[in-house]
Amino acid sequence: MTEITQEQLRHACERGDYALLLASIPYARLIGVECSRQGEELLFRLPANKDNIGNPLLPAIHGGVIAGFMELSAAVYLLIATHATGVPKIIDFSLDYLRAGQFRDTYARCQVWRQGRRVANVAITAWQDAEAQPIATARAHFKIQESSKTHCP
């Protein structure tokens, strides 16, 4: 397990080092979340993994894993996008399942619709074949730490 200190976490956020962030989160390693930068955007990827299967018949990815992937993507996105110094705390999370998550790679993209002083609203879209045909959409509210270092992206 990659041990991370408060100081390293702060540096990771300030430098936008999502790889270090993801490597330091045990749950991210359990389900296997990856991230890459595409221009100004962050693209999250959940590689096909049989340990993430819920419905054994289809087979399909467990709905909870899809939710966890999207929630984690939103939190990491927020950390990177806002250069926040503390880990955002989830307030609520709402997701709509649109299609079964097949046993293949899944992608997610996030958008911060509103960032106030204390709360941020993040939308997350997850897809497999085509971004225009999402398997799930979600919306999360996070409590962000009030800090002079926090500024809008």
Binding site: Y27, I53, G54, L57, L58, H62, A67, G68, E71, K89
Partner: protein, 158 residues
């Protein structure tokens, strides 16, 4: 339907879900009024490495599973019921090194849709970590799922 048959059906259902086995989910109790699933604390589901607090995703997997399985409590026969939507409100963070209990029940069953709700707690059900509501689609009894001895047939797309 006898209560022990609900428990038995729910146990069988849970044992067929691979990711639930990875998380170590166990059925705690089940009756026609709802059921409770246990998520054991484990270092692999930690979300914040500085505090050891478990990630919301593991909690969501617990509650999605519990809400989905609570359909077994109200349906006379097994039906595949995929999740339409799920909402989780986090009351406070889970304490590290403690198991989480997820209770769920169905409060409305229609021909096409089942409404379910539940909450997650550690020591005290009166102090939930999270409240959950979920809606599930009924695919009907002709769509077969998990039978004793393994899968029967492929699931149709609704």
């Amino acid at each position: 339907m006898a209560e022990d048959s609900v428990f038995e059906r729910a146990t069988r259902f849970l044992s067929a879900l691979r990711h639930c086995q990875i998380l170590g989910l166990k059925l705690h109790s089940a009756s026609r009024e709802g059921l409770t699933v246990i998520l054991p604390y484990s270092p692999q589901i930690v979300g914040n490495p500085l505090t050891g607090i478990i990630h919301g995703g593991a909690l969501t997997s617990l509650m999605d599973t519990a809400c989905g399985m609570s359909t077994l409590c109200v349906l006379p026969q097994f039906e595949v019921c995929p999740t339409l939507d799920l909402r989780i409100d986090y009351m406070h963070a889970a304490e590290p090194n403690k198991d989480v209990y997820g209770f769920a029940q169905c409060y409305r069953v229609t021909q096409d849709v089942i409404f379910s709700r539940g909450f997650a707690y550690q020591d005290d059900p009166e102090q939930p970590i999270a409240h959950v509501v979920g809606t599930f689609m009924r695919l009907g009894q002709h769509v077969r799922g998990i039978k004793r001895g393994g899968p029967l047939a492929a699931v149709d797309t609704p």
